[in-house]
């Protein structure tokens, strides 16, 4: 048994990809098809953002990859180990912040992180040291001795992130780790995640915050209605938009030679420098207000899906 385990771990060390998802389908018992052939891979030591609206299938994929849910079809490998065939070997290597997860409110942040590390197999002194370090990293030191029930929702979420980062697991799955956090708290989590990435941990986080993905991620995977629409680096994503600027016109407008995308009362034109004036002139002539912005990751999402990522929330 030990020999087989060692072999599997060595095989994991030899592989370059941290996570490989191949044609993953998930059909729930109620007939809902949450994933429709999801394929992508994540390199070791990278921070990858799974982007998509609520209900896109991000959480379903994360639950499959973290051994909580069985896929209907397809495979997910974590460091060369199949999550269905080798769940116990995989669980040694991963840690996860569940969507809408909360730390136990009867405990203090220190007790929660410390107990999580004891459960994972750390000795007492090491667990104490790691708990203190990671509470400091997430700027939770002032609250370390308060009970979690006294903390705000954002602080509670940070306690959970601190515990999972402290685990030292090679692969971290974070399902919407910054949802409900104020801007300062989000930046604190971002710093901690970057620190973990620098330490060699591979991080897969789901989010529907475009700015979060742009700031944090090395690569993005855009998931929409159970399918992967784009997978690549942030630079590749920006290039895939195809234009430097977008002009948002608050009204229905048609401009010859330019394709407008209608999104709830706003017409969006993707243009390069020369095209900005053309669209603005037409918009002014019609009396519509308009705004020019540089294109971003959100525009790739809009181009791919015809919808804004936040509309469903």
């Amino acid at each position: 048994m030990v020999f087989i385990f060692v072999l599997k771990v060595l095989r994991g060390l030899a592989v370059v990809s941290a996570v490989v998802s191949k044609g993953v389908w998930k059909r729930y018992r109620n007939g809902v098809v949450a994933l429709k052939g999801v394929s992508f891979s994540v390199e070791k030591g990278k921070l990858v953002a799974l982007l998509g609206r609520n209900g896109a299938g991000k959480t379903t994929w994360v639950r499959i990859a973290s051994t909580q849910l069985l896929p209907t079809q397809g495979t997910v490998e974590v460091l060369g180990l199949d999550v269905v065939a080798d769940p116990w070997e995989v669980r040694e290597l991963i840690a996860m912040v569940p969507q809408e997860g909360l730390p136990l409110d009867i405990l203090t942040p220190f007790e929660f992180v410390y107990s999580y590390l004891l459960i994972r197999g750390y000795g007492r002194s090491e667990a104490k040291k790691l708990a203190r370090e990671h509470l400091a990293l997430l700027e939770l030191e002032p609250y370390a001795k308060k009970t979690i029930s006294e903390l705000s929702g954002g602080l509670k979420r940070r306690v959970l992130v601190a515990a999972v980062l402290a685990s030292g697991a090679e692969i971290l799955f974070l399902d919407e780790p910054t949802i409900g956090l104020d801007p300062l708290a989000r930046r604190s989590v971002w710093r901690a995640l970057k620190e973990a990435e620098r330490g060699g941990q591979t991080i897969i986080l789901t989010t529907h915050y475009m700015d979060e993905a742009e700031v944090l991620a090395d690569e993005v995977v855009i998931v929409h209605e159970g399918r992967v629409l784009f997978s690549g680096t942030i630079e590749e994503a920006r290039r895939a938009v195809g234009h430097k600027f977008k002009v948002e016109v608050y009204g229905d407008l048609e401009v010859e030679g330019y394709e407008g995308l209608r999104l709830k009362g706003v017409t969006v034109f993707y243009v390069d420098e020369g095209g900005v004036d053309d669209v603005l002139e037409k918009a002014m002539a019609k009396g519509y207000e308009s705004v020019v912005k540089p294109t971003s990751l959100e525009d790739l999402f809009i181009k791919l899906t015809g919808e804004r990522i936040e509309e469903g929330d």
């Binding site: 973290s66 909580q68 849910l69 769940p87 996860m96 405990l107 929660f112």
Partner: protein, 250 residues
């Protein structure tokens, strides 16, 4: 890093520590709430009954405390799985599902221990504590705690919403402590049918303890059924809870 059985044992004890010792220290009122009913019944049996009935109420109280604390795992397990997703957090760790169940069960025993200690002291003062009775009592308390906590955990896996979980724990607690022959002698049941009392693990434990304490002359078949009942319940519920633990959903 610890590995193997030691790691699993430490994981169970850690869960028992956070959900038992720490939780008890910060919310001691739970102990009072679990003691109210057994103390109230003891009071009424003492006032309106005779010495035998009072001793029966002491034994009943011990069984009720072990059972009601054990069954209350239902609420904790469902809360951890549905509301705070603590179970999801732990699935992505090396902890085994039965270590998790064991940890939660132990935490229920921690909550039961002050009440059990009080009733054991009262039972000693009432002259119940012979060596034979103490042994039988320890075995029965362990059996009732094991079966009720495993039953509570197994039932908790059936719920998708917390709304229905809390009343279920109260209902089960009342049914398992008042319907079987715990606060009344099994001799009340029709002759030849005393074994029916052993259909509930609490009834089985009570019949054994009533018999060992010399309070009731229980039929030999009923006594045998009681012992078999406790063993079968514990084994069956351990198996069932391991199958229903939802460590990976289909």
């Amino acid at each position: 890093m610890r590995r193997g059985i030691k790691r699993q044992a430490v994981a169970s004890l850690t869960i028992a520590w956070i959900n038992g010792v720490v939780a008890l220290r910060r919310a001691p009122l739970w102990v009072v709430s679990y003691l109210l009913m057994p103390l109230a019944l003891l009071f009424f049996f003492r006032i309106y009954g005779n010495v035998t009935m009072m001793k029966m109420a002491l034994i009943g109280g011990i069984i009720m405390i072990a059972m009601s604390n054990g069954i209350s795992i239902l609420g904790d397990a469902a809360f951890f799985r549905i509301h705070v997703k603590y179970q999801d957090l732990l699935i992505a760790t090396p902890i085994r599902p039965m270590s998790y169940v064991m940890g939660l069960s132990l935490s229920m025993l921690v909550f039961a221990s002050p009440g059990l200690a009080l009733f054991v002291v009262l039972a000693s003062l009432a002259g119940l504590m012979t060596a034979e009775f103490a042994l039988a009592l320890a075995a029965c308390v362990i059996a009732v705690w094991t079966t009720s906590s495993l039953m509570g955990f197994t039932i908790s896996t059936l719920f998708k919403s917390l709304r229905h979980v809390w009343p279920m724990a109260s209902i089960l607690s009342m049914v398992l402590s008042l319907l079987p022959p715990i606060y009344y002698p099994a001799t009340v049941l029709p002759q030849g049918l005393q074994w029916v009392g052993a259909l509930a693990p609490t009834g089985a434990a009570a019949m054994i303890l009533h018999h060992v304490a010399g309070l009731v002359e229980v039929e030999a078949t009923a006594l045998g059924a009681s012992m078999a009942s406790l063993i079968v319940y514990a084994a069956a519920l351990a198996l069932l809870s391991s199958l229903k633990v939802r460590w990976r959903e289909p």
